[in-house]
């Protein structure tokens, strides 16, 4: 009777041996390793830089879009978005709760600007005719850092704290009503008593946002004037918050939802992220991202096929060597692991180099960005957003991690088949190979 198999000890994984052989094989095939690595380096470089550029572009779109509308996060009554009526305004309690919540240190650090507005539909009239208008009643000091309207003065000036009957009007509406700087005109809207009430205003400034919808309807007036006109005192219909980074939207919205849990439960308030309040912009960003993912998916599939080809050729070239390793006592799994480690090491090193180059390129363009005005012009609008032709790339740690993980997964996936080939060779047959 032969000895039991238990007398043969099981073999440890031999990580050190596998790593040593893998690294030496990469060095041995230096030219092939460098060629494969070059593809990964260029891929990683392009991936990081173009995603930084894409993230910077999207951040600019989002920033521009939310400043022209209600902010990254908006609090309003649930019915307000559809009705735009003065009765759907926030109570004083809700407003003060919001203001206190935004003063919390962990939230305040994220907040760039906040503005409480009374936004209603109205009818603007002059001797030349009448046009539907959107009245945005604001505190001029709070609104200036919040929106971009104050930077878009065509004539005159933006609202000031002491203004009483002042109106800051879009160029389209000015032209429709045949107004000019200093002209008087009347706006009519439903007041808090549900009567139609009129207010005389004087044009102190004319703006041109580049967005026809805003230019033809928007009128900014002081919130004090609106309160006296409509009987709403200092009540507002919505409070908007602009954040330093759109990535923090969810945490700020969650914080507000927590502190406003009771009014939200009673239907007195709702917290909207920009994705909900500006779905067209969200769709535009999502489509653009999808396009990027698709293009890079295809690019990396091509790179992966290249890696499979290179690693597989290396396996076929070393068929006999793998046979020798197994004859000397390496298990099939350990033989496959050498190939897997080779692929992963090559991918990891070239991925890190590529991503580092991407970071350097991103850093180089951090200050002034890249001017695309020759390609897209100065006045391009898109999903209600004026597109800034100067794009500044944006670095996010989460994006860096995503890209590194993606590159490693590609490397691992591309090495699995060659590793399997190496693990499943017929040892005796492999010895017959002449290299």
């Amino acid at each position: 009777m032969a000895k039991t198999l238990m007398t043969l000890r099981s073999q440890p994984m031999q990580v050190g041996v596998i790593l040593m052989l893998a690294l030496r094989n990469l060095r041995r095939q230096l030219r092939r390793s460098i060629l494969t690595a070059s593809a990964m380096i260029i891929g990683g470089w392009l991936l990081l830089f173009t995603f930084s550029l894409g993230d910077g572009t999207h951040e600019t779109w989002i920033d521009s879009g939310v400043r022209m509308s209600g902010g990254h996060v908006t609090v309003e009554r649930p019915e307000f978005r559809r009705s735009r009526k003065i009765e759907d305004r926030l109570s004083a309690d809700v407003r003060s709760t919001i203001e206190r919540a935004l003063e919390a240190p962990e939230i305040a650090a994220q907040v760039v600007a906040q503005s409480a507005r009374l936004t209603i539909n109205a009818l603007a009239s002059s001797p030349a005719g009448a046009r539907p208008a959107q009245i945005i009643a604001v505190d001029p000091l709070a609104e200036a850092p919040f929106s971009m309207f104050d930077d878009q003065v065509l004539e005159g000036r933006y609202l000031e704290p002491d203004d009483r009957l002042a109106a800051y009007v879009g160029i389209g509406l000015v032209e429709s009503l045949d107004l000019r700087l200093g002209s008087r005109f009347v706006v009519q809207a439903q007041d808090t008593a549900q009567d139609i009430s009129g207010q005389l205003l004087r044009v102190v400034g004319i703006f041109q946002s580049g967005m026809p919808e805003a230019d033809q309807t928007v009128i900014h007036i002081p919130i004090q004037t609106a309160g006296d006109w409509l009987g709403s005192d200092r009540d507002v219909t919505n409070v908007g918050v602009v954040l330093a980074d759109s990535a923090t939207v969810a945490s700020v919205a969650t914080h507000l939802e927590r502190v406003l849990a009771e009014p939200i439960a009673h239907g007195d308030a709702s917290v909207l992220e920009w994705r909900e309040s500006n779905p067209a912009l969200y769709a535009a960003v999502a489509i653009d991202n999808f396009g990027n993912y698709l293009v890079y998916g295809i690019l990396f599939t091509i790179i992966a096929v290249g890696i499979v080809n290179t690693v597989l050729m290396s396996v076929l070239h070393r068929h006999r060597e793998f046979g020798v390793l197994q004859a000397l006592g390496l298990t099939p799994g350990q033989t496959g692991a050498i190939v897997l480690v080779e692929g992963l090491t090559l991918t990891a090193i070239s991925g890190v180099i590529g991503v580092s180059l991407g970071l350097l390129t991103t850093w180089y363009f951090f200050g002034d960005g890249i001017d695309f005005s020759a390609l897209i012009g100065e006045d391009m609008t898109f999903s209600g957003v004026v597109i800034d032709p100067i794009i500044v790339p944006m670095f996010r740690v989460s994006r860096l991690s995503q890209i590194l993980v993606f590159i490693l997964v590609i490397g691992a996936a591309a090495s699995i088949y060659p590793a399997r080939r190496a693990a499943t060779i017929d040892t005796a047959e492999a010895m017959k190979f002449e290299r």
Binding site: M1, A2, T7, L8, R9, S10, Q11, R28, L328, A428
Partner: protein
Amino acid sequence: MTDTDSAAVRTDGLWKIFQQEAEEVTAVRDVSLTIERGEFMALAGPSGSGKTTLLNVIGGLTRSTRGEVVVAGHEVNAMSNQELARLRLDEVGFIFQAYNLLPVLSAMENAEFPMLLQGIGAEERQARVRDLFERTGMSGLEDRRPGKLSGGQQQRVAVVRAVASKPALVLADEPTANLDSASSEALLDMMFELNRDLGVTFVFATHDARVMERSRRVVRIVDGSIDSDETHT
């Protein structure tokens, strides 16, 4: 055979049949053989006689179609691939016609390799290899890569690699086929001394007359079967 089986190898009714497309080719035919520890023996026969296949079956590089193979007391046919790998590592040393040193390792590292896999410490590994390098005239060439060694030198490293881990037997497949006569003689002297001084069991597959002359036992294989089994004194 008993639990106290002292033979290096025992085969009983061993067959190896290859399927080549629709045709069956019998490479090993009903071979029953016992190789005692410390033997210096040759499996002789012309090309295609089945001696390399028999060597591969004994070494666990390929499985037999039927019959029993016991190597150093372990029944090879009952082993998993993992266990076979461990058997090759612990009990069998291989010497190949084409040397088959690993090109990414130095002469010293090649010779140490099986011991590295066995988990033997660096000090002991290097002491064993240096001793064997001295015996085989390889001292001073420890750091050279295989590409920088002559055929004879590479085969000496292969012999050191095969014996340094102290296996139950060393299987050598045409070890002198790629060497000139002087190198062949030197290599045979070296293996003979290792057998005599250290008791290493050598089994050669060969058709080299010099190897057969030096072997104390010659088993002739014809068409996969044992044709004769002669022991020289």
